[in-house]
Symmetry: C2
Subunit: 79 residues, 2 copies
C-alpha cells in the first residue's frame, strides 16, 4: 500500500464517520471536489497544505490525520 492509498482510505473513512459528502468537504476545505475524489482513490498525493486544509472540516488536527495514515500503513504491512 502506498502513502497516497493509505491517505485515501483514511480520508474516505473519516468523511464517512463525519457524515459529510465530498461536495460539503470540498466547500469547507476550499479544495476541488474532483481532487477530493482523486485523493480518496489514492490517485493523488496530498501536499502539506492540502493536509492542513482538509483536516479541520474532518474534525481532526493535521498531525492527527498524519498519525492515522501512518497507522493505516503499518496495519497494512502487518496484515
Amino acid at each position: 500500500m502506498t502513502t497516497e492509498q493509505a491517505f485515501g482510505v483514511v480520508l474516505k473513512r473519516l468523511r464517512a464517520e463525519k457524515q459529510i459528502s465530498q461536495e460539503a468537504l470540498a466547500l469547507e476545505s476550499g479544495l476541488d471536489r474532483t481532487f477530493i475524489s482523486l485523493l480518496e482513490r489514492g490517485r493523488r498525493q496530498p501536499s502539506l497544505s492540502t493536509i492542513f486544509q482538509i483536516s479541520n472540516p474532518l474534525g481532526v488536527e493535521a498531525h492527527e490525520l498524519v498519525k492515522v495514515v501512518m497507522e493505516e500503513l503499518k496495519n497494512q504491512e502487518n496484515g
Copy 2:
C-alpha cells in the same frame, strides 16, 4: 508565512539540531539534495510521502514534524 515557508524553517532547524548536512539528509531520505535545499527555502511544497521520507533521518515521527510546522505557523501569526 505560508505552509511551505514554515516547513522550510522547521526543516532547517531540525537538520541543524541533528547536525547533518543537506547531502547526508538527501542520502538518508532518498530525496535529492537540490529538492531539500528548495524545501528549506520554502520554494517547494512537501508531499505526504516527502514528510514520511524526511522525518526519520531527522529523528522525529512524521506526525510530530507536522505538529512542529503547525506550531511554527501559529507562532508567526501571533508574533
